[in-house]
Each structure stands twice: as structure tokens, then as C-alpha cells.
Symmetry: C2
Subunit: 460 residues, 2 copies
Amino acid sequence: MENVPYKIYLREDEMPKQWYNLRADLKTDHAPILNPATLQPVTVKDLEPIFCAEMAKLELNATNRFIDIPEELLAIYRMFRPSPLVRAYCLEKELGTPAQIYYKFEGNNTSGSHKLNSAFAQAYYAKEQGLTSLTTETGAGQWGTALAMACSYFGLKAKVYMVKVSSQQKPYRKVLMETYGAEIIPSPSDTTAVGRKILAEHPSSGGSLGCAISEAVEVAVANPGTRYVLGSVLDHVLLHQSIIGLEAKLAMNKYDIYPDIVVGCAGGGSNLGGLMAPFMADKLAGRSHPYFIAVEPASCPTLTRGRFAYDFGDTGQVTPLIKMYTLGGGFIPSPNHAGGLRYHGMNATMSQLYHDGYLDEARAVEQSEVFKSAVQFARVEGILPAPESSHAIKVAIDEALKCKESGEAKTILFGLSGTGYFDLSAYAAYNAGTMTDFIPTDEELAQGFSYIPKLPGIQE
Amino acid sequence: MENVPYKIYLREDEMPKQWYNLRADLKTDHAPILNPATLQPVTVKDLEPIFCAEMAKLELNATNRFIDIPEELLAIYRMFRPSPLVRAYCLEKELGTPAQIYYKFEGNNTSGSHKLNSAFAQAYYAKEQGLTSLTTETGAGQWGTALAMACSYFGLKAKVYMVKVSSQQKPYRKVLMETYGAEIIPSPSDTTAVGRKILAEHPSSGGSLGCAISEAVEVAVANPGTRYVLGSVLDHVLLHQSIIGLEAKLAMNKYDIYPDIVVGCAGGGSNLGGLMAPFMADKLAGRSHPYFIAVEPASCPTLTRGRFAYDFGDTGQVTPLIKMYTLGGGFIPSPNHAGGLRYHGMNATMSQLYHDGYLDEARAVEQSEVFKSAVQFARVEGILPAPESSHAIKVAIDEALKCKESGEAKTILFGLSGTGYFDLSAYAAYNAGTMTDFIPTDEELAQGFSYIPKLPGIQE
């Protein structure tokens, strides 16, 4: 193992040519997505007014374990992939741990995160279908930027509903997306019926991903040639993001490395599931037994304090129903700086894996601890991490310090999903000692749960 | 050439283990740096109160063509190097040019540019010498960030004088440097005698690199255990930056590629000289004849409209005298957004090469054209470039379009020295159509030239 370099890059001809469909290997398939009007499993036809046709098919009908990445898309991926798998030698030395720490770094592209993997895929299929315009929501802005870049590349219009509190915290995110030709609207807005309704009820609302999704879906359905795309939560997004884990595993194979612990930050599940997918496949098949940890903000504790139930993906209750861990579509998280993790739900496949115990543990952490780890990491590894990714850093460091106590030389893999160049107002608050933590009370959670629908014969 | 990948990475064990000293191969050595008090060539002893001892020695006494990179520094370089050499397939397609365009991309690190190459080197030698603190100036903030990162790594204090107009344009740069533990002072400031003098004469001054240097030098000389470090202009910085060109050449060698045209943006010369160095060595030795183009902002036209004369490196006239192209140390450029190019002078070695015709051409371009090229590049290559680097992009595109007209399949190499994440106020101005161009009048230049010292027996 002496010869492991600081960064392991695959050659371009070694990059995966297929995505991996984790759902195909589930021991217990997750419950079907339901049409809220009929409470029957949703059909491709139901979804087609909202989503690109190919995305609807992938979401509902993908049963193959591996799905080809189109040739043109493979060429585009080479603009920003393969991403490096980094051996955190400097962090290991700083911690004095016998653990070997690796991270898959997805931040070396202008969107600043892994989101570009799915944005280019979804824009590609939209272009193939002859669509002219896409709508979406964004929290931290990484998904919005990724979609703006992909739409710019394919000559599609992009309309991005950005969670209002994030748009205020990150004015330059807006400029970046506009530089790529996208139109940005802080959400809730008065441009949609659902936005106006939310504003009427909560005039000072800072918004949430759930609200922004409702607005973006409403606009997509109402306009010809337009569809809605989503950067997380759905299985087809996880499919695109499986390239993270596939590359990580191939890079590790080169040096005969295998993780004992896999750590990912948990928002809607795209980075989490993408990183874990091929290692989870090994666990499901009994080939190996890595320990999986999902890390979420204590301010939005979907897995650790949420319910496993059918719920809407949005606040306005316009989406299909997904059986998932949820805090309730009406749960508006306090303005945690990790905007990308401020979502009430979790991907259905990852929810099922957590429910069934294959995703071993979810851990909720407070943001001031997260930023402490982020700064420690930045100073020795030379990368300013995104607040979202820093949730994984915090737990990777904690696990490495446990190894220091126990003397175990475990191999820890975590996902460094993005960079924090647009999160410097949060870093400024941390530097100034004015960062506060937010933990919802049981009453606040109960308020969120009240939005989870009662479905006769399915859930009360 | 069919098999050239999108990104050519060297393996870590292929990375250069020596820097290349371009000065050693000059046909006519540049004039010696002078002590302004004696008008005699400056000695290491003269420089030691200002600079780290090893930097002073490298600056004055380096005659070897190759100089070993210390082992510990090689290990640190692996945190963020090798950097990719990118084949701009998407840009070529967009332009419809037969030219083959390559760029060496130095922006994939948190400082956002090539500056980290020299920052880590200088901080390493400072630590070796037992110093405790470093002072410097920064314009765009890339050098300041790089030095903050390097000082943080080695446990040194960093005090950064940031050109006031840049600090106003880029508030988050300050936060980023502070996150790495640096102290940031907008310049001109009242913390130094020279700053107070400049403020008294020009109370509303937006500052310049020349002013900020004066302040940083004053503080370094006045405080024990403290030295001044510079991110450009001097030969030892070019030496460190030669790793850019050395890596680019090794990467090209792998695929039997050699540039017909080499384009770099020109501020103080660090990126320009670093990229060009090994190719210039070939030209000086008659082994090849690439055409070299230095691109500077029309608002700060050092090479195209400056004088080749001895001048101070700063505004306060506290530095040694360098024979270089200069607009005069008192020239305060208008607030062009490319803060890293707002310097009145140019490295002596690069000045000599331009004077002697080996650096074939300098071209001044206006910033609105530069941003037009930057956005075109960002949309197809997926990287948001720094305004400084975008000067090189603009000319690379122009040259590729000339190839389209002539039908020539030239190979163009340019330096993409950094990213523009902290330049979004400039992009916002460009997007809004409110960006203006600045071209100094002959009278304004004459005003600057009046600061060039008259030196009895040397220059009148």
C-alpha cells in the first residue's frame, strides 16, 4: 500500500460506461410511487406531463442492474470526469490516526459539486426528446448551477426556483447561473399559484426545497415544450450519481483497497446513494460488509427523527407520493447554511435500505461542529469544502479519531461532494463565532408530521 | 493524435522534481537589480532584511539551469498537482476551427490559481529559516489566498495588504483568507507610514499593487521574525512557476504534441513566465520556434505602451530598482476587474525576452471583449475562468479563428491560470451590459512615467 498516490485518477478509457441501478438489487423493493389522485402506482403516462419521457421510464421501469451511458454523454462527462479519489495523507497526519482516509472529490467543476453528473444526463435526454425548456428548484445553488451549465451546453432554457433564504445568503450563485443563461426566481414567489398561496400564509417565509419544487412543477406542467427536472430524491438521479461510487471503487481496486466505513452526507440522497451504490451492492450480495453512515444536519433530521411513510415530495402537494423517511412536506427547516441538506424527505431506495438495516446508521450533527471540521480539513487538505460535504468530513474525522483510540487501521471512504466558494457568508459567521445551531423541538417536528397525508387503506 | 484524451494528467511520479531557471538561458542576461541608495547591484545581504534568505539567494545567485524542489515540498505539491493539460475539444467545435487548442488549467485548488506553486515554496523556506510571520500584498486575492493557505499549513502568521478596490469588489476573498487564519488589511491603510502618505495625497485612492507592496515591505522590515514575500515579478517566483510549463511540456510529449503558439496573460509575469519557460528554452536553443504572445489589459498596458527602464517595484519607492517594462511606480490603473493584472511593471527576465524579440508579441485587449470570450469559454468548456486568465482565452480564440480563415491546423497552448468564483461582481456587470472599458490617455501615461527615477549615469 506504500505506493498509493495522493490522488488516484482513472484514465478516461477506464471510466464506467454504464450506470448502476441500485434498486435492482434491493432485497425488498421499495413501495411503488403512487398517483395521489388514484392512490394507484403511478404510470409513465402519469409522469410524462411533468418529467422528460426517458426520466419517467427510468424512474418506474428500470429493472436492469446496469444501464448504458449514451456515447455523447460519455464524451461530455470527460469535460469534468473522472474525478479524483484522494488519499487524505495530510488529514491522517493531522489527526494522528492509524486509519486510512479516502475521499471522492466531486467539486472540481464549475457547478462545484457532483450535481453536474445528473444535470448533463437530464438535459441530454430533454434535448433528445425535442424539449426547449427545463424548470427546477435549487437550495444551496449547486444543482441550479449544474442545470444552468447543462442547459447552456444543449441550448435549452433553464428556469430555476431558488430557496429564498439561500438566494439571500448567496447572491453570487445567482450571477453564476445567469452567466450560464438561466433565469433565477427566489422561492416562494408570486409567479405561481402555489407560491402565492404559501406567501399568503407565511409572508416572511425563507422558503424550502419543498416549496420551490411545487413552483417549478407548476410552471413545467403549464408550459409546452417544458418539463421539470430534479437534482436529487428520485431513483433516476441516484442512477446517474452511481458514477461517483463506480469510479471510487475502480480507483480503489487499482491499489487493492476496500472501505471498512463509507460516509456520505444526506439531503435528498443523490450524493449519498451515488457514492454508496456499488459498495452497497457488495453488501447486499454478501461479498463484503462495509459499515454505512448517512450524516444529516440536526436542523433537518429526516432519517434520525423522521417517519417512514408515504409523503409528497413537495410542500404544495402537487407531486406523486413516495414511501420514504420524511419530516412532512410542510416542514420548513430553520436556515441551516447547508442548503442542499434542507429537504424533508429521502430517496425511496436509500430509505428502504435504512429501514432494512443495510444502511447501518444515520447520524445528525450540528452545524458549528460541522464547520469546525470543515476548517480543520481545509487547512491541511487545501480544499474549502461545501457545508453539505462537511457533514461527511465531520463524521469521517470522528471515526478516524475512534481508530486512534482503538488502534484500528480502518479504511474510511467519504464523499467530498462539493466546494464552499459560495458559502463564505457561513464561514464568516463561523470565523466570527456568531454561528448558531438549530435543533427542532418535538412540537416543531409534530407540526411537520401533520402534513404527512392520511391515505385510506395505506396509512392512517 | 486521435487518442489525445480531454485531460492529460501526469502520474505523480512523473511530476518534475526540479524547477527550471529560465534566466540561466537568456542570450543577454537582464540588467542587475540595483540598490537605490548606492545604485550598485543589490547583494543578498541588502535583500535579507526584506526577503527570506533562500529567496534572496535564488533571486540573485541562481545560475544553475535546474534547481531541486525539496522533498517535503514535492509531497505538498501532490496535494494539488499535477494539474491537467486540457484539450479544448468543445471550444474547437464551438469555433469550428482546425486549430488544436490546449490549456494548462491551474485553477483546481482552493486558492483558485497557479499562485499556490510559489506560496508553498516561499512558506516552506520561511519555516526552514525559523521565521514566524510573512507579509505580502494581493490584488485579485489569488496570491493572498495562496499565501494564507501555505502559512496555515506551516503554522506561520500571514498579514496581507489587499488592494482596496479589489477588497471592495471581492468581500468573500477576505473571508476565505481569514478562514485560513490570515489578517487582511485594505491598502492604502493607516497602518504604515507609506500608506498614510498615499492616503494624505490621494484620500479616495482605490490602491494599486504598487502601494500594497510598499506597505507590506515596511511592516516586514520593522518586525523581527517577519519577511516580505511576493507572488510575481521576481525571478525566484518565475522559477517556482516553471512547474506549469514543465508539466505542460511533459504532458504534450506523451502525445507527441508541440505548440505553434503559446499564449499567457501578463501581469507581473509569474503565470506568463511559468508557462512559457521550457518552451522558451527550446527557442533560445534553436530547437523549436513557437510564437509567444503576452496578453495584457488595455487599462494597464505595461508591455505595449510602457518603457524599458529601471524602476521601483512599488509606489512608495522602498524596493530595489529593476530594469523592466514599466508604466511608472506611481501609475494607478483604473479599476479593471482583472486585479491580478493591475501592476505597473513586468518581471525582468520576461522584459528582457520581450526587448530582445524572443517573446514575440504583446497584445493589449479591452475587458468587455475579454469577458465575452470568458463567457463563451465557460459555456462550452464548463469552467468559469478568472478575468486575468480570460485575457489569454480571448487571444487564443482570436488565433484559433485566424486558423479557421487560413485553414491552418496550428497547435495553440494557453495558460488558464485560475477560476473566477470571486469575480462574479464583474460577471454581473458584464451580464447586465454595464461593464466599461478603460484606456489610459497619453497624458495619464506621461503622469505615470514621471515616477520613473532619473539615475545619474544609468538613465536620464
